[in-house]
């Protein structure tokens, strides 16, 4: 049986973890080993902005040991991701270089949205169980050390995904700086999260009841997946029973909690704080059921690796979930929030993708590029909410300030730039200079996709839905765009050159617009 051995390393806020997996089409993703080491990197970086030298040494020592373990399993590949603790370190680049030199392990830093997307993927990889739950209104709550991500699902589609602070480790650190009595703790936790949560509820939930919570965390999930609550289905508990359980913890000392729950005493504070936050969320959202699938970031990494390398059988559970659709749903949600009119962007989406599909092979553009283009098309009008005159710049700013689950920071910058340059003058790489975080490759991607989106814009300037169908062909170094429509295309035909110049500059092919009138049956 052919299989790959893969190691996933998560450099988290309070724990360094490595999971070793065997991935095969026959057995799917099988966890072989799970090594965890407690190291509170977040305690340093959240409050001092840097990770202390001692902690860096400790981290390097453990990562070197991980290298040894990987060797012993003869792993075929590995991926190491750092999350908020590394992300929030001022000198993260230097730090990562140091780690690479000392241990040979290359750590990529995940943006919050990428991290949450992987977390989310790890749960979605549970397949049917996940699908069944998100058919009802569901909040996916991912409690991290630094922040909490709440994603809302309704009828199988992602409504929104928001990041709120503080996460559990940050909260614990903040609490240590205050003096309070033990009976005040629950109120304090409520107060610390209520502002963000209540705004979230007001903006995205309203009076609606969120029936389910899918929980992803490191502590409460342990309890829900253990035998303590005596639930019928592993990991699932009725919200009322959970609230009762949290209330029962109030009377217990931490050692007693540790013994009865089977959790190391050092983790009890974080468990209790997480439990209190969840209790509050249940109250705010009116939740009936809580499900903790008990997966972690490493599982998401393994899933991503398997997916990328096509290691899983097509019918394997989890593959059925359309993650791209979630990202698109998220973008549409941003549009809704900024009152962007859907029909204005729907046509642009269609024409841009048609052009892309025609060109992708020749210009070696990927499936992911297609998604970025589609996102840009969807979001191209969102800035109108701020300024009708400066749509491009306003849209750019909105996109850059909004989490789009599943996109890396660079990808978000690409999408925002495409939107911006669809109406603004294009800044050439040379003039961007040091201002940009984008590399050459990303820049070229922006140029290509901007050219496409500008061209698609040129096909329906008045946004009246003139272009029902677009056909593309080539004639002697020209790209013929045949728009099937009976609408008056005078404006588009007249101004087409303005929108096609950049396209010609980028692809070195001249686009030509032609109209084909549609003759319906019975029409003479």
């Amino acid at each position: 049986m052919a299989y790959k051995t893969f190691a996933a390393i998560d450099v988290g806020s309070y724990e360094l973890a490595m999971k070793i997996y065997e991935i095969s089409s026959k057995n799917g993703i099988k966890e072989i080993d799970h090594i965890r080491y407690r190291i509170e990197l977040g305690t340093d970086s959240y409050f001092t902005g840097k990770i202390s030298n001692d902690r860096v040494d400790e981290l390097c020592r453990m990562l070197s040991e991980f290298t040894g373990i990987m060797k012993s399993y003869k792993v075929d590949d590995y991926k190491a991701y750092g999350t908020s603790a590394i992300r929030e370190t001022e000198n993260s680049l230097i730090l990562l270089e140091q780690i690479k030199t000392k241990t040979g392990i290359k750590i990529d830093v995940l943006s919050n949205s990428e991290q949450r997307f992987l977390d989310y993927k790890s749960v979605a990889s549970r397949g049917r169980e996940f699908q069944n739950i998100i058919e009802k209104s569901t909040a996916f709550i991912d409690i991290g050390g630094g922040s909490i991500q709440i994603s809302l699902f309704d009828e199988d589609s992602l409504v929104t995904s928001q990041n709120i602070r503080p996460g559990v480790l940050r909260m614990r650190e903040e609490l240590t700086r205050m003096s309070y009595r033990s009976y005040q703790l629950e109120d304090m936790v409520e107060e610390m999260v209520s502002d963000s949560l209540e705004s979230f509820k007001e903006m995205f939930v309203g009076d609606k009841k969120i029936q389910n919570i899918i929980l992803l965390d490191d502590y409460v999930s342990l309890v829900l997946n253990g035998s303590y609550l005596g639930t019928d289905k592993k990991g699932q508990v009725e919200a009322s029973a959970f609230v009762e359980f949290v209330d029962s913890l109030k009377k217990k000392k931490s050692r007693e909690m540790a013994l009865s729950l089977g959790i190391a005493q050092e983790n009890i504070t974080l468990l209790y704080l997480s439990a209190l936050m969840i209790k509050y969320m249940i109250k705010i959202l009116g939740t009936d059921m809580l499900w903790a699938p008990g997966v972690c970031l490493c599982d998401g990494m393994a899933y991503e690796y398997a997916e990328k390398n096509k290691l899983l059988a097509l019918d394997s559970d989890g593959v059925s979930h359309n993650f791209e659709q979630d990202i698109l749903d998220c973008a549409r949600d941003i549009n809704r929030r900024y009152h962007s009119i859907e029909h204005r962007t729907r046509e642009r989406e269609m024409t841009a993708l048609t052009i892309f599909d025609y060109m992708k092979k020749t210009y070696n553009m990927s499936k992911r590029d297609r998604l970025l283009l589609q996102l840009a098309a969807i979001l191209s009008e969102c800035g109108r909410y701020i300024s009708l005159a400066n749509v491009g710049v306003s849209s750019y700013n909105i996109i850059m300030m909004t989490e789009i689950i599943g996109l890396s920071h660079v990808e978000r910058e690409i999408v925002a730039s495409i939107v911006k340059y669809s109406t603004e003058n294009f800044d050439y790489y040379e003039t961007l200079g040091r201002e940009t975080i984008l590399d050459r490759e990303s820049y070229l991607k922006i140029a290509k996709l901007t050219a496409i989106i500008r061209l698609s814009e040129g096909l329906d300037l008045s946004h009246k839905g003139k272009c029902n169908k677009l056909k593309i062909s080539e004639e002697e170094d020209k790209m013929i765009l045949t728009v099937e429509t009976n609408a008056d295309m005078t404006l588009e035909l007249g101004l087409f050159d303005k929108h096609s110049t950049f396209f010609e500059e980028v692809f070195n092919i001249k686009p030509v617009i032609r109209q084909k009138r549609v003759i319906f049956k019975g029409e003479y």
């Binding site: 049986m1 065997e22 080993d33 080491y37 407690r38």
Partner: protein
């Protein structure tokens, strides 16, 4: 109705653990006094009582003394302060020693003589030829290694090493005309006595065989007698006024600074210190000159009550060497050869066999070779990626160590946790740890604050279907030498869930966090005690609900107060509890209304009972576990121990059979009585059953005829009415 609550913590419900230990040593002494046993087996048991007592003093009595010196007066579970315990221990030990020497003098010595082995107790009893022989022996072999030391104002009292046998003498200078004192140059008047001592060298055999007498009797003499006879040759300018042997025991319970940068060096340093610990026991030869005794006592600062006057040779452990004498096989038990394991024949691919089914190993009835082979095969198997093992006590020249080193040299990842703090094996373990490191193994020197006592080996193999983990879990050490004497059980399995747990165990031992959850294993000091308390309580709840409830537990020692309390509660609720506790048992029996349902037996036999097996009836769905842990606070709270379930139904039957046979033992089993003493069951000669003998027979038959035959012999054959 008001429910009467019983206070199960009352001191009268518990035995003091030190006195219980002495009772255990008395049971071993009972074997030495058992006339039905072959003579050489009896001397072996006597020797065991002596070495046990040494260890008991160095660790337990030393610790009590430390408590008394520190003014610690907290009472133990039996309600005794350290001072009270020390007094009682002293009294009981004196009685034990008296009994040891009474057995030696009145029974064993005459019997040995009758059987052609004469121990010449005093050199004065040697014949002329023998005198010539020993004097020559002294000159050639002994004299060169002796370091005689005299004490005077210019030479301080020398270091008397822990456990060493010494000869102390009072010497006076031979008369010299005009002799003057060394310092003040005044003439020395009369006979001035000085103290002199010489250590009986441990590098020379203690028993020296004399030339065979004409009647064929083998005569032996102890080395200290030869030295005593030749004392004058050691102190040439002195007259030997008197010479007597003496021996001291020192506090060996040292505390290791575990945060030390290099634990290896720290332990080496502490080991040297062991020689300097406070003297806590002085044994002197009966009839010792009071002046000599006074000097020794004062110099060693030892209490009168800690002095043991011995009516015979000091340190009876020499009997273990005598046991090895050839020519007396008729006076020993027929030697038992550990039998092959039918599932694992020579040359078998052990991994293939384990894949077929879990394999149970029962030592010493079955050979330890499969465990060694498991590691040897793993070492040379190209598919093996890693070998991980815990080592607590290993034998000298251990084949396991060699195999691990070989594996590392073959490029496998070998991680070994060598417990440097395994008491009295520290030196040995340091040697192995260094050897393994040199071979390229990743060696962990134990965990800070904990002793790693669990016995687990994990072999990770990359196979066609993916990674497969093979695990050996045992109740006894990875020691091929003791595996011939200690009864232990082990399991070889590739059960996936156990493999996952085993990986997690080694991750934890390497300093990583504990896993998010365990499949089957329970680990001390984290979860094990709670798991046991839970299992006992579950039986209690079942008894209350009138469901089948029973506990059968076999272990070496039982002294954890929480466990005992839980057992009392369970028994009071109606759980039938049968305990097979070889050594210390702080639980009492026969307390009316409290523990009528508890029965405790101890089996002391030819092999040292060492397995830990736990059976819980679980309302008709019995669960069987095995462990490296006893029910002692040190095992449950201060050591890394593993409790593992026996999952395979067939193996469950086999392990249950082990308990069943032990429960049926009427020959060696002694029952704990309400007064804390033990007594054997009175049964007719023909009804006597010895578990150890039965196992020897069973496994011999099994090896000869295959397992099937034995199993068939164990089943009942129903008879039916043929006319129907």
């Amino acid at each position: 109705m008001e429910v009467k609550k019983t206070d199960y913590s009352k001191p009268e419900y518990y035995c003091n653990r030190e006195l219980s230990w002495i009772a255990f040593n008395n049971r071993i002494l009972g074997e030495a006094r058992d006339k039905s046993l072959p003579l050489f087996e009896r001397i072996k048991f006597l020797s065991i009582t002596a070495s046990n007592l040494d260890e008991f003093f160095m660790v337990r009595v030393a610790s009590l003394k430390d408590m008394v010196n520190a003014g610690y007066d907290k009472k133990d579970i039996a309600g005794m302060t350290p001072t009270e315990q020390l007094e009682e221990v002293n009294k009981a030990t004196h009685e034990l020693v008296n009994m040891q020497y009474s057995t030696y003098n009145r029974s064993l010595l005459p019997l040995l003589a009758q059987n052609g082995l004469m121990v010449v107790e005093h050199h004065e009893e040697l014949t002329k030829e023998e005198c010539d022989f020993v004097d020559r022996y002294f000159q050639d072999n002994v004299y060169p290694v002796l370091t005689p030391m005299a004490v005077d104002s210019s030479r301080p009292f020398p270091l008397i090493r822990n456990k060493s046998l010494n000869l102390g003498a009072l010497v006076s200078r031979k008369e010299e005309k005009g002799r003057r004192h060394l310092f003040n140059r005044k003439p020395v008047q009369g006979k001035e006595l000085e103290f002199a001592t010489v250590q009986v060298p441990s590098v020379i055999p203690r028993i020296v065989q004399l030339p065979i007498a004409e009647n064929g009797t083998k005569r032996v003499i102890l080395l200290e007698q030869i030295i005593e006879r030749n004392m004058d040759k050691l102190f040439l300018n002195y007259n030997i006024e008197c010479a007597f042997s003496f021996r001291i025991m020192r506090n060996a319970d040292f505390a290791v600074e575990e945060e030390a940068e290099d634990l290896l060096k720290e332990i080496e340093k502490q080991l040297k210190k062991r020689q300097w610990g406070q003297a806590i026991r002085l044994e002197v030869e009966e009839g010792i000159d009071n002046r000599l005794l006074d000097i020794i006592r004062k110099e060693l600062m030892i209490d009168e009550r800690d002095i043991y006057t011995i009516p015979g040779p000091l340190d009876l452990t020499f009997f273990m060497k005598m046991y090895g004498f050839s020519g007396f096989e008729h006076l020993k038990n027929k030697p038992y050869t550990p039998q092959i394991v039918p599932e694992l024949e020579d040359g078998d691919d052990i991994f293939e066999k384990i894949r077929e089914k879990d394999i149970l190993l029962h030592h010493p009835y079955q050979t330890f070779a499969p465990v060694v082979d498991f590691i040897k095969q793993a070492a040379r198997d190209p598919q093996v990626l890693a070998i991980k093992q815990t080592l607590y006590r290993v034998s000298g020249n251990s084949p396991i160590i060699s195999a691990l080193a070989q594996a590392a040299e073959n490029g496998k990842q070998v991680s070994v946790l060598v417990e440097l703090k395994a008491r009295f094996d520290e030196e040995n373990n340091i040697v192995w740890a260094k050897k393994l490191e040199k071979a390229g193994c990743h060696v962990i020197y134990g965990l800070v604050g904990l002793k790693t006592h669990c016995k687990i080996t994990l072999v990770v193999r990359r196979e066609e279907e993916g990674i497969r983990r093979y695990v050996h879990l045992g109740t006894g050490n990875y020691n091929d030498a003791t595996a011939k004497l200690y009864t232990d059980l082990g399991i070889l399995t590739c059960n996936e869930a156990i493999g996952e747990d085993a990986t997690a165990v080694f991750n934890m031992l390497s300093g990583y966090s504990e896993p998010l959850g365990w499949n089957h294993l329970a680990l001390a000091p984290l979860w094990l005690k709670d798991k046991f308390l839970y299992l006992i309580d579950r039986e209690k709840q079942n008894a209350i609900k009138k469901r089948p409830a029973r506990i059968v537990a076999k272990m070496n020692s039982l002294c954890d107060p929480d466990i005992i309390k839980a057992l009392y509660k369970a028994a009071a609720a109606g759980v039938k509890i049968q305990l097979i506790v070889r050594g210390i048992c702080c639980l009492r029996t026969g307390i009316e209304g409290i523990n009528d349902n508890i029965e405790v037996r101890s089996i002391v036999g030819n092999f040292l009972e060492h397995a830990r097996i736990f059976y819980f009836e679980n309302a008709g769905n019995p669960e069987l576990y095995m462990s490296s842990a006893d029910w002692m606070p040190r095992n449950l709270e201060r050591r890394v121990e593993i409790l593992f379930p026996v999952l395979n139904p067939k193996l469950k039957d086999e392990v249950w059979h082990v308990l069943e046979v032990q429960l049926a033992d009427t020959k060696k089993a002694q029952f704990l009585k309400s007064d804390g003493s033990y007594a054997k069951m009175i049964v007719k000669e023909e009804e006597l059953r010895s578990a150890q003998e039965e196992f020897c027979d069973e496994y011999t038959a099994m090896a000869a005829g295959g397992k099937k035959a034995v199993q068939q012999a164990r089943t009942f054959k129903p008879e039916y009415n043929q006319s129907l």
